[in-house]
């Protein structure tokens, strides 16, 4: 199931609704890289609130998205990581150290605004 990407001003919001296959993730990375340029977006928010697991491949893809969108001039914020997911990720050593995080979409938008 592909991930819907909404445009909100100069921010793109990718709202992940269900567990993603590796193919969906790759598709999402391409979509975002493409749209950041097309819409001249300044920020990207990836909302993973609906996910109850984030494995190492997903974490690596998210990091890849963050790098590629940064090269295209937009900042990526991952929002909505659930408490259990956060704990499991840390146990697996996936702490996404170099990626901005926020509690939810609202916070993510605020973060992108303050660091404009």
């Amino acid at each position: 199931m592909p991930v819907p990407v909404l445009k909100q001003g100069d921010v793109l919001i990718a709202s992940v609704q269900a567990a993603l296959s590796d193919k969906d993730l790759a598709q999402l990375r391409e979509d975002l890289a493409d749209r950041v340029g097309r819409y001249r977006a300044r920020g990207v928010i990836i909302d993973v609130a609906a996910l109850d697991v984030l494995d190492s491949f997903a974490a690596r893809t998210v990091r890849g998205i963050a790098y590629s969108t940064r090269l295209r001039g937009a900042r990526t914020v991952v929002v909505g990581i659930q408490p259990d997911v956060a704990y499991a990720m840390v146990q697996l050593g996936l702490s996404l150290d170099d990626i901005a995080t926020a509690l939810d979409v609202e916070e993510g938008l605020a973060l992108l605004r303050t660091t404009a």
Binding site: P83, V85, D97, A102, L103
Partner: protein
Amino acid sequence: MAEIAPAIMGRVFPAEIAIDAREIERRKAFLEFREEDAEALKSLNEIAQTYAEPVIEDFYRHILAFEETRAFFGDPKRLERVKRLQKEYFLRLTQGDYTADYVANRLRIGTVHEQINLDPKWYLGAYNFYLRAVGSRLQEKFACEPNKAFASLLSMMKLVFLDIGLALDTYFFAREATMRKQQEAIRELSTPVLQIRERLLLLPIIGVIDTHRARLITENLLQAIRSNRAKVVVMDVTGVVTIDSRVANHLLQSVAAARLMGATVIVTGLSSEVAQALVQLGIDLSRVSTVGDLQGGIEEAERVLGLRVLASDTDHSPARPG
């Protein structure tokens, strides 16, 4: 040993002490307590009947001669009751039935002694007195058959050691139960997460952190971040006396997990000893923001949140720095 306080026995039955028939068999096998021993003891029952009275009298004379043990028998009425029960036990030693019922009785009596705080040293000393009393009576009775006297005493000794083992089990069981209860209490006290300002949480950590507790702390913290929509967390470790690499790792994991949820963690209260220990251990906390004390941590948190605290008095004194 006798039932000292039968009144409280009803609620102390140590049902949780797991000693089943197999366990009893194993213990008897290790003591080499065999059918012959049971038979030999049973054959002494008649002699025991005649000697019970004087042996018990000697026994209590001995016990009352020491203030440490006398304290448990202050009341003459109680003393009478205890003597009667002690006599029952004495006779029971030679009744030939040493199975589940006997063991349950021993455990119950042991628990009673544990509950009145009779130290095991007196308990064991009393057994020693018993053995010596029985030995000298046997020697007297079987003056012409020293071998029989000695064999009987050996059988008695095996049984008494079985009893001692059971008595010690009740003591250990009680101590372990106390420790479990205390650990439970510590665990429940251990993880408060307090909101001290809008979007600012305080996590005071006190005492020893083990893996289990670290997990609880992290889970509580993450839930609180979610429910309070916290943006900054001040984690105060003033009450943590030692931090080794394992504990440091747990703290780092909490910080990383909180960050994944979009919250910044400020660690405060690392004492100079702890700081030096961390450096010596080569633990890298450079990715964690640390502030010396709790006050500084809260001020830093307010700064991150864009808050500023001003004195409320109306004169024109300058605002408190910070």
